[in-house]
Amino acid sequence: MTPTLQIFLIISAALFAIGLLAALSRHHAIFILIGIEMMLAAANLNFIAFWRFGPQAPQPVGVMIAIFSIAIAAAEWTVGLAMVIAVYRHFRTTNVDQLNQLKG
């Protein structure tokens, strides 16, 4: 018995929900980034699963999208962590509840 597409979709939905939970309920800025990254990984898993279970195209489109998505996520991490360090230098905290200087 081999797994079907639906199993992978359910797994990636669960991963997306856990990432959303981390992004919404954490106080630390780095872990909000980690939650966003889990949601992105769930999307990558969906791309690969649809590529595997869909009709075979002459070029591996799903794999290409996943590779580019990983590269863009790497760029996002460099800028995100640099922003966390810059914010920490300015406010001396990484707790997002205390970063309320722009709050109206």
Partner: protein, 160 residues
């Protein structure tokens, strides 16, 4: 691709992701994040996309996990614990999960069984990257360079 391996990897990945989302010690949560991405790479291997799995391991466990640990150590002066938990996040996440599951189970599946596995070679990926995808590849190169320079400018010490 057997269903037992798939379920075992799924349990490992989701448990590590839940630990990364809820553990209070920041360093333990960061290591659980690395374990989550090992599980996702295992999924890519199971699905026949070995190249993407290896890229995932190199980028996330090799570079991003180390960057996260360094950033936690650099910014750890007041807390190394994340206290308090917002329960509204749990409610929203559960609602989104329920909606996604409802949508998935109410959709007719595309195919019952996967088509016969044609191995995807690195040569195929390289050919695709150098022909149809050469313009996105150059754009990603420019984006990575710009992100690198931007992050260096962001963390540069201001001279007074």
């Amino acid at each position: 691709m057997s269903i037992i391996a798939c379920i075992l990897v799924a349990i490992f990945t989701l448990a590590a992701a839940l630990a990364a989302a809820t553990l209070q010690k920041l360093m333990h949560a960061a290591l659980c994040f690395a374990a989550t991405f090992i599980g996702i790479a295992a999924f890519f291997f199971l699905l026949g996309a070995e190249f993407v799995g290896l890229v995932q391991v190199f980028v996330y466990i090799g570079a991003v996990a180390v960057l996260i640990v360094f950033t936690i150590l650099l910014t750890r002066r007041d807390v190394d614990r994340d206290r308090g938990f917002k329960w509204s996040g749990v409610i929203v996440a559960t609602a989104v999960f329920g909606g996604l599951i409802w949508a998935i189970l109410n959709t007719h599946p595309l195919l019952i069984a996967p088509p016969p596995v044609q191995p995807l070679t690195v040569k195929q990926i390289g050919n695709a990257l150098m022909t149809n995808y050469v313009w996105p590849l150059l754009c990603v190169g420019v984006l990575l360079t710009a992100a690198l320079i931007g992050s260096l400018i962001l963390v540069m010490e201001e001279k007074r």
